[in-house]
């Protein structure tokens, strides 16, 4: 087989004549992946914490709603959810709102749909971690909080959540990594994130190996950065003298 390796291709100006190199394209893709993943992650953490807490409260109605939320987002493929947000949601909105959405910049449409989709999908998984974190606390902790005169919500805020959150840092790390990987699905609606730029590079440069290897390495690097960041977090929230759950 005669394949001409040419790593220099990344420094060449692109065929579109927009005064950028293929390396710039990759860099833009990386920026999009990071921006999308981080914004979706913040929403997912907040929503997930709320839903996870609701699953543990002694109120059938509230915990039922929270359970339904989690089951809904866990049992539909991410790609289908993304298409539902991007193609279906604007049609189901009230007409003026739907039209307003459809008239915005397509990049904004793609980004918003992707962000909402990833955020809600991930929030259901975060909620499961939060719930299992709370459930793994010794049951006496809740009683101790209540016995001091804390209300239930104060007990959650000051006693149970601070500990539960520390316990679930490792599984949250893997959800955080997942959101970066899952963001690649958003290339299917045309969002130019890292994977989509990789495909575009193949088309434009005719150097498929270099393009895909570069993109794959970029994902590996992202992975390493996120993991070391979370390890730092883990070390800094560690409670002195505390040795694990029940």
């Amino acid at each position: 087989m005669a394949y001409n390796w040419n790593w220099g291709v990344f420094l060449q100006p692109t065929a579109t004549g927009d005064d950028s190199t293929y390396l710039d394209w990759m860099f833009h893709g990386l920026q999009m992946t990071i921006g999308l993943s981080l914004s979706a992650w913040l929403i997912a953490l907040l929503l997930g914490a709320v839903v996870g807490v609701l699953r543990t409260v002694p109120n059938r109605w509230l915990s039922g709603v929270a359970t339904a939320y989690v089951e809904f987002f866990r049992n539909i493929p991410l790609l289908v959810q993304l298409f539902l947000w991007y193609f279906v949601m604007p049609e189901l909105l009230p007409e003026n709102l739907g039209n307003a959405f459809k008239q915005t910049n397509p990049i904004v449409q793609q980004f918003l749909s992707s962000m909402i989709c990833l955020a809600l999908f991930t929030s259901a998984r975060v909620a499961e971690q939060v719930r299992s974190g709370i459930n793994s606390l010794p049951p006496g902790q809740k009683n101790a909080g209540l016995a001091l005169g804390f209300t239930l919500s104060q007990t959650y805020r000051h006693v149970m959540l601070p500990m539960a959150v520390r316990l679930i840092v490792p599984p949250l790390t893997s959800e955080f990594l997942n959101i970066f990987k899952n963001s690649a699905v958003c290339s299917t609606i045309g969002l130019l994130e890292l994977a989509a730029q990789g495909r575009q590079l193949v088309d434009y440069t005719a150097q498929p190996y270099e393009s895909f290897i570069a993109v794959t390495v970029a994902y590996l690097l992202l992975n390493v950065v996120v993991m070391s960041g979370m390890r730092w977090v883990e070390a800094h929230v560690r409670v002195p003298g505390y040795i694990g759950g029940k």
């Binding site: 010794p138 009683n143 101790a144 209540l146 016995a147 001091l148 500990m163």
Partner: protein, 242 residues
Amino acid sequence: MISMNKVSKHYGSFQVLADCTTQVQKGEVIVVCGPSGSGKSTLIKCVNGLEPFQSGEIIVNGVSVGDPKTNLSKLRSTVGMVFQNFELFPHMRIIDNLAIAQVKVLGRNPEQAREKGFKLLDRVGLRVQAEKYPGQLSGGQQQRVAIARALSMDPICMLFDEPTSALDPEMINEVLDVMTELAQEGMTMMCVTHEMGFARRVAHRVIFMDQGRIVEDDSKEAFFGNPRSERAQQFLAKILHH
């Protein structure tokens, strides 16, 4: 101070408490004992509403615990409780464990709360540990902190739920000493414990429970002198031969 009238509780068909009736006067020290599963822990948790009950009535300082209109958080802030497994908050320093409820529940200012916390740590002999985390203390030390934490709320009475049964034998006395001192100062106390030496030293009355019922409710002298029920006699014999 505490009065219970025909308190009953069941899980499904399993009777946990059956018609429990008793009174605790101000300044009285009551020891509750009985075999495991006799309902003694459940009974004491009903006093501050940590365990709901289906029928009967509990009045603490004039407030009905079972009444849905009662502000349970407010009631609990006046009743101190000490748990079998200490239940200090592991993510807070010792001094913050003592201060947080004073600030968030009683609305004291943080400086005063810490001041009070230090005083109480002094009292249980642990001032030097104030800046440590619970996991860095021994079990006996943690339980003394837990007692100090309950006292920081200026409770009108104290509930102890097997405060020494999770401790290594050599640490039991340091905790009992703190409790004895409290009793001698006139604190109203209800203690679930198997420490019969403690009961002999400081209790005014002893309640013996079996299968969810209060079987004996006697002065200390009467209980240790000659318990009327056979179950209590067997129980005492086992404990003493321990």
